[in-house]
Symmetry: C2
Subunit: 591 residues, 2 copies
């Protein structure tokens, strides 16, 4: 046995012995003073990170007896680098099986990630597909599917209703299907994938294929690194079909209210022109982590004679050849839209209202994601699931410390690029603490552009740049607060999105939205992510202050990975497994 | 280095040295007296097996200089069992890279499989999906797709036309797409997958999921072991879309003729009501290895007042509740159709005309396929590609020797079952030489049933059994040659299919069909597979006696695996790489 393995085995032995003796204090002393235990559902029926020995002890005091953890064992040879020992583990609880990732420093646990992977008695198994015994009245698969489609939501009620059938809703729907939880995904578009198809023409994923896999069915080897929106649309449509996700297209949710007595929601849906009332136990908002479009109210919008729309409604550049377009905003959508308009010979001006963080796509792929999600990572044995676990194992509290050096390397590599941008008057930042794009995404979900070519157009003036706030619109122009007048035939508001609980206000009510509070963000006390520190993303994939109300979504990576933990939480409730939530999050902000 | 490895390295060293010296005789002496070298395109631009030292020497005398093989090297540690050393290799040729599988016995090569995997300069690479430089006039993926759909087959001619868009045509279409060969798949149905959807209701795959993967995109982990036909239909439809296979539905080929001067085909297609003429260089028949339905001509068919149809047209059992049905035939389709009719309360009689081989599905899965295609195989590291290679490495000449003991085990395991069948009067066989189902499939493509439950219905009389040939039909009955009269409202002819060159006769002409000859079979001189010995399946996936005419198909395993070699043969021709064919097969039978 190697020394590294001995060290891990010794720690595990001591840890498990303390757990067996129900001695949470002793177990906590195996953690470093500065340490983090992140649990995804396995110990806490929550997504939560506790810090330090006191945090560990408190968690165990509350949960140890009920969870009854056991069987911690290495699943592969542990490794050691820079004084940190890294180990991959499996373990069991009373009701499930999990995997874990452990980092030891000086013989003490520095980080521990525990994740629930399956519930005992409800393991995901490959179905046989056909009974090999003939009997009268046996139904074919197709007949069974047709029966289900005719009855679900009408004769039989789904246990879970998912509002929103983009990648998030679909991934969750696939998990619930496989776990045997009756669910129904509702979406307002004509068919799955339209969430992508209906966006502006030049849109491609900014994340690479290795980051974007959906559960169960990875993209094939010939899938493009950065998939075009219509291709993703096709994939989502076929995925929904072959995974047999119960899905209603052309279904708009008009209202929802929770009946605490019966423990069910009353969800009113306009489906294909017909009003249907659904009575699920659980309601999941998968309406897009970006939430509702922020549409700025500006003086003069009523007198402006041209066209104006939010970036989410922008149809693409074709109709604007030769037109003067003012795009308000300077993040991803703004750059994408400006770039496509320029390609189609529009006269484009970008209005930068606040500073933006830009990284070149190639640098982000190589330095930011390359170790986890890339051809290189795959060649090194870092499968998608392993990458997801490694990423999840870094506590949010210290994640920026790992991110800062990566962005310092990008700054160095692309120094010329940034110099050119600055010379063009573009205000650029690296995040409040220099931690770059990914922390901006996790904290506020905005404030950046992954450059796929449009930044150069700004740098050399092919896309014009204006600085400042919009003061008002006139009949034919946008006027900034410094008096600059930008003649316009079209104004695009690339002004971002609000918190996802805005959808709750619309569909349930304002009181529920406020009780649930702001969705997304870590409480990092940086721009647009006010404190106090939360330790996890607010309200995402875990119980909220509204019973039986959940939020799901994020990028493709998050939709894939966290859909598992949300699905298992729902499955446990469906099967009547007790799910006492440890440290239900408090709410500090309403939006 | 292990002794096993030393032995392989020594053999490889001597082999490569002989090849380098262009000394085919010396290389041949490294093979055993009884030995087999099977080549899939790499050395021969053909699919061919040579036997013994003379066969090896002749192949090398003809091909060595041109192929210029080199770089034979182990890709993993070789293994040894029962006196046979097994090694996995890679190698190169002048134009490509390949993998190989070698078995040594007593230091001599017993079997060698060489396969071409890619052409140098034309390796399959993941596309970027988007250019990260903006420029005016850039087209989006969707626009590019729409342009292609508007022009292919009209403004631009495909290099390859594939007739038939079932699993075979689709798999080949996906390979050609990825290799950048302009191709067009034609299919007469309304949409991809209808080839399966339109079959009888109870149809499920008889082969298990691990055997059935298509190229590039394996079925997901929740795919049923035996997929129902409609689910396979959905999969094929979505596969066609996401793999961007150029595919015309509602396209019937009316005629095709080869113009030797221009080296192109003139293919007349009725597409969506419009007549289109295509001018591809190559024409691939992927019309189903089963070929055209055999419709027996029987006296009295004109006076019979009930319904009669071939099994391929059977709509399913719903309409026949309470009806008397006579099913002529006793192979897979007959059993499936009889079973579903019985489930729907029809009065069913099966007419057995000749003896049938039956194996229980579970036994076939476990004993017949389990080592290569099963959950167990996957757990043992036998990936689909590895299983395909192992299977391909067994020369057809001796394959029955490996098969016979498997079927002896099945006979023993299911002895009670066979006794009950015999007692019911069912004539059962194990193939001419006891080699069972798979050899029957390869030799004649018929004569068996994989039992998924219906055999029990015959054994206990719930499906009635009659023996003999059909003599004639009357107004309301089927009369057998012994005078037995079977009253019937419906007669189903589960009478199988003819050779695939029947389609060539219909579409091209009889002369071409005869020149190309019988498709399928090994020349084993067993029932329905007349000699002389061919060594490979006649006409499948390799050059035929008609220039630029090819056959593709078979089960899902064959469609997956052999589509690679056919695609590489077409790609080489498309790129102008010389492809001298070694030992173009001779034709001994016209059908």
């Amino acid at each position: 046995m190697t020394q590294t393995r001995e060290r891990v085995e010794a720690w595990l032995g001591a840890f498990e012995s303390a757990l067996r003796d129900r001695d949470g204090e002793r177990a906590a002393r195996l953690f470093a003073v500065d340490s983090f235990w992140r649990d995804l559902v396995a110990f806490t029926w929550n997504i939560t990170t506790v810090e330090g020995r006191a945090g560990v002890a408190a968690l165990l005091a509350d949960r140890l007896e009920d969870v009854d953890p056991s069987g911690f064992a290495l699943t592969e040879e542990p490794s050691e680098a820079d004084g940190v020992t890294e180990a991959w583990l499996r373990f069991e609880t009373r009701v499930g099986r999990g995997t874990a990732h452990l980092r030891l420093r000086g013989g003490e646990a520095w980080t521990l990630l525990t994740t629930l992977r399956e519930l005992k008695g409800f393991e995901e198994a490959r179905p046989q597909g056909v009974e090999h015994e003939l009997r009268k009245g046996r139904r074919s698969w197709q007949e069974e599917r047709e029966r289900e489609q005719a009855t679900l939501g009408r004769v039989e009620q789904p246990y879970v209703v998912v509002i929103g059938g983009g990648q998030g809703g679909i991934a969750l729907g696939a998990r619930l299907r496989r776990l045997g939880v009756p669910a129904l995904v509702l979406d307002r578009h004509d068919r799955p994938g339209d969430q992508w198809r209906k966006r502006y023409k030049s849109l491609c994923l900014h994340d690479p294929v290795w980051y974007d896999h959906l559960p169960y069915l990875p993209f094939p080897a010939n899938w493009p690194v950065f998939a075009p929106k219509d291709k993703i649309g096709d994939w989502l449509e076929m995925y929904t079909r072959v995974m047999e996700v119960p899905y209603w297209s052309r279904a708009e949710v008009r209202s929802a209210s929770f009946d605490a007595d019966s423990g069910t929601w009353r969800v009113v849906v306009q489906h294909d022109g017909e009003s249907v009332e659904l009575r699920p136990a659980h309601l999941v908002f998968a309406t897009g982590m970006s939430g509702k479009p922020n549409r700025p109210a500006l003086p003069g919008q009523d007198v402006f004679r041209g066209e104006q729309h939010h970036s989410s409604e922008h149809p693409g550049p074709e109709a604007y050849r030769g037109k003067r377009v003012v795009v308000v905003g300077s993040n991803n959508s703004a750059f994408d839209i400006c770039g496509a308009l320029w390609e189609h010979d529009a006269d484009v001006t970008m209005v930068q209202r606040s500073s933006t963080h830009i990284v070149k796509s190639a640098s982000l792929m190589d330095i930011g994601l390359g170790d986890l999600y890339s051809e290189r990572a795959v060649a090194n044995g870092v499968t998608t699931d392993r990458a997801d676990m490694i990423f999840a194992s870094l506590p949010y509290r210290i994640m920026h410390e790992f991110q800062i050096p990566l962005y310092e390397r990008m700054a160095e590599r692309d120094a010329d690029f940034y110099a050119r941008l600055e010379k063009a008057g573009f205000r650029h930042d690296w995040g409040d603490d220099g931690s770059g794009l990914f922390m901006k995404y996790l904290r506020r979900g905005s404030g950046y552009y992954i450059d796929v070519g449009a930044a150069d157009l700004v740098a050399d003036g092919r896309i014009k740049l204006a600085q400042g706030q919009v003061d008002r619109l006139t009949e034919d122009a946008v006027v900034l607060d410094d008096g600059t007048t930008l003649p316009a035939d079209l104004v695009v508001y690339a002004t971002g999105y609000g918190s996802m609980n805005g959808w709750v206000a619309d569909i349930v009510d304002r009181a529920t939205a406020d009780r649930v509070g702001k969705v997304w963000g870590l409480g990092s006390d940086t721009t647009k992510d006010p404190g106090p520190w939360e330790g996890e993303q607010r309200n995402m994939w875990k119980p909220t202050q509204q019973e039986n109300l959940w939020f799901h979504g994020g990028n493709l990576h998050q939709s894939r990975h966290y859909s598992l933990y949300l699905a298992l939480q729902l499955k446990a409730r469906y099967e009547g497994i007790p799910t006492p939530v440890y440290r239900l999050q408090e709410v500090h902000h309403t939006s």
